[in-house]
């Protein structure tokens, strides 16, 4: 029953433990922190998209709620970072209920529309509500979070912390999908009518999983605020929501590991691209970071058209196919 997933977590744990020993460069550790934060949001999104079959195009807004709750409550209200993060979780869950209940009680893809609108509105609010959010100028001097009395104010410390949270997020996610609730979600994805006929309250389940995925995003946002100690509306735009969906799709919708893989890959991608940009200059094209968006869009398009199971799933299928072929070859020879 899913032993492989738990073994995979052990492998990831070992990789995380070893990484700072190998990567002795704060900049790259920092990139991996962002990878962890994206992972966290993507795990939640994957539970929603891959298992319950619902799309959210407003997940960056939940990240924003977490980040601003943390920023505002620590800076302006002087609350502790942990308290502020918890408040962000409740706020996100509450907002998810308000957005999700009307959209998810209907069959079909109304959630995508509702979250798209909600994401854009929240971004505008973040820019305009200067008294609370600091507007385009943002919020400064957000404190670092501490754990057992140790301030997590270095890249290495925060690297361990953020990936530990990812591992916890994975643990909850895997437990969930191998449970009565997880099967219920997959069932309603397969056939809503059949799931209902077996006693599953499909609307309630969709709302619950949407709330859970908003909580993942909210925590990711809070951690973001505590890591870079400064927030402005920029990173919480609809564009980032689309990027998160792309990450999950790249990994293959139906696999939590795919979401992890996709999140890490696409977080690292701009780093690769910027190191290539020198090469572009040589051939007479100036590479601008703006083009990243274009490249992400292209990736999403290619994945949707040619690899609906995602890169991760695509690899898996290719390996399965190869194994099958080998077996048949061997059998034929005997």
């Amino acid at each position: 029953m899913g032993w492989k997933n738990y073994m995979g977590m052990l492998v990831l744990f070992l990789m995380v433990a070893a990484a700072p020993l190998i990567i002795r460069n704060d900049y790259y550790l920092g990139v991996l922190v962002f990878a962890a934060l994206n992972c966290l949001a993507c795990i939640g999104l994957c539970l929603l998209m891959g298992y319950a079959g619902q799309i959210s195009l407003g997940h960056a807004a939940f990240i924003g709620i977490g980040a601003y709750a943390s920023g505002y409550m620590t800076v302006r209200l002087g609350l502790s970072p942990w308290t502020a993060m918890a408040a962000g979780i409740f706020l996100s869950a509450g907002v998810a209920l308000i957005v999700g209940i009307p959209a998810l009680r209907l069959k079909g893809h109304y959630l995508a529309m509702a979250t798209l609108g909600f994401g854009s509105i929240l971004h505008i609010v973040a820019v305009a509500a200067i008294d609370i959010t600091g507007g385009p100028g943002g919020l400064n001097n957000i404190p670092a979070i501490s754990l057992f009395g140790i301030a997590l104010n270095t890249d290495t410390r925060f690297f361990y912390f953020s990936w530990a949270i990812v591992l916890i997020g994975l643990y909850f996610g895997f437990n969930l999908i191998h449970s009565r609730v997880g099967r219920g979600l997959r069932a309603l994805h397969g056939s809503e009518d059949a799931a209902g006929s077996l006693g599953i309250n499909t609307a309630s389940y969709k709302i619950q999983i949407f709330v859970l995925s908003s909580v993942y995003a909210s925590i990711s946002g809070s951690l973001y605020a505590y890591y870079i100690n400064y927030i402005d509306p920029g990173p919480f735009s609809v564009m980032h929501s689309v990027l998160l969906v792309t990450m999950v799709a790249v990994g293959g919708l139906h696999k939590i590991w795919g979401a992890v893989f996709g999140a890490v890959l696409l977080t690292l991608l701009p780093e690769f691209l910027s190191s290539f940009s020198e090469y572009f200059q040589v051939i007479g094209i100036e590479y601008k970071p703006d083009y990243d968006t274009l490249i992400y869009g292209l990736i999403l398009l290619i994945i949707m058209l040619f690899l609906p199971e995602g890169l991760f799933g695509g690899f898996g299928d290719a390996i399965h196919a190869l194994q099958g072929k080998m077996k048949r070859l061997r059998e034929a020879r005997e």
Partner: protein, 253 residues
């Protein structure tokens, strides 16, 4: 008295201008097989949808164990002990055969979102029980060797068996089968008839909608014939076969 499990009273359903079910009365006795037959579009599936609460009647009422049903969602009727299969076999294609049946144990288990996420599956007693019970239903329909295959990869005949196993995992009081033999060959249809007979022996009341007359006449205790949403005849298979109205409806006079 005689044990009536389900009673449809003056039931009516109108879709826009189409009267799908019209003033329909029907009683279903406990531990029997009651069949509804009738031409295409007669309103048979609509009757099932009304009983399971997936649509609301325009008029009339449905009584289950003597109480008026107020189910306005399918899951509520399921909670009352009514299970069903679908005319266009609706298995969960990406889940394995066993997992499909495990979903059928939903109402017989209870862990919610939070408990499920906190405790891993191998430490949850409930999870083990769900699996054991699902295995029993799997064997009951004879799909043991297909347990780990994706349900979508099964041929239609097996998918229909699987749907029934999944419904049985609910331990329902009443099971509604919507054309369980459609698309099956003679041998499979025979096996289906035999399976339905075994379900009746488990003291589960069965309602059957089916176009295969041989199967219907073979296993039914009572047959109701509907045409244009109204009941035109009712009785034992032998009675119904001799009814001139039925013969007329089926020959299209």
């Amino acid at each position: 008295m005689n044990h009536i499990i389900l009673e449809l009273i003056n039931l009516r359903k109108v879709f826009g201008g189409v009267v799908a079910v019209n003033a329909l009365d029907l009683t279903v006795q406990k531990n029997t097989i009651t069949s509804i037959i009738g031409p295409n579009g007669a309103g048979k599936t609509t009757v099932f949808n009304l009983i399971t609460g997936s649509i609301r009647p325009t008029g009339g009422s449905i009584e289950f164990f003597g109480k008026q049903m107020q189910a306005n969602h399918a899951y509520i009727a399921a909670g009352m002990g009514i299970a069903r299969t679908f005319q266009n076999a609706q298995v969960f294609p990406d889940m394995t055969v066993l997992e499909n049946i495990m979903v059928g144990r939903h109402l017989k288990s209870s862990s919610g979102l939070i408990r499920s996420s906190l405790i891993p599956p191998f430490f949850r007693r409930e999870e083990k029980e769900i699996k054991t019970e699902a295995m029993k239903r799997l064997s009951f329909v004879g799909l043991d060797e297909h347990a780990d295959k994706p349900a979508g990869s099964l041929p239609l005949g097996y998918q229909r068996m699987l749907e029934i196993a999944r419904a049985l995992a609910m331990e329902p009081k009443l099971l509604l089968l919507d054309e369980p033999a459609s698309g099956l060959n003679t041998r499979e249809t025979f096996a289906m008839g035999e399976l339905i007979g075994r379900i009746k022996k488990m003291n589960i009341t069965v309602m059957l909608v089916e176009h295969d007359m041989e199967l219907v006449m073979d296993i039914s205790d009572k047959v109701a014939v509907v045409n244009f949403g109204s009941r035109i005849a009712e009785g034992t298979p032998a009675e119904v076969q001799l009814n001139p109205d039925v013969i007329a409806a089926y020959l299209g006079e």
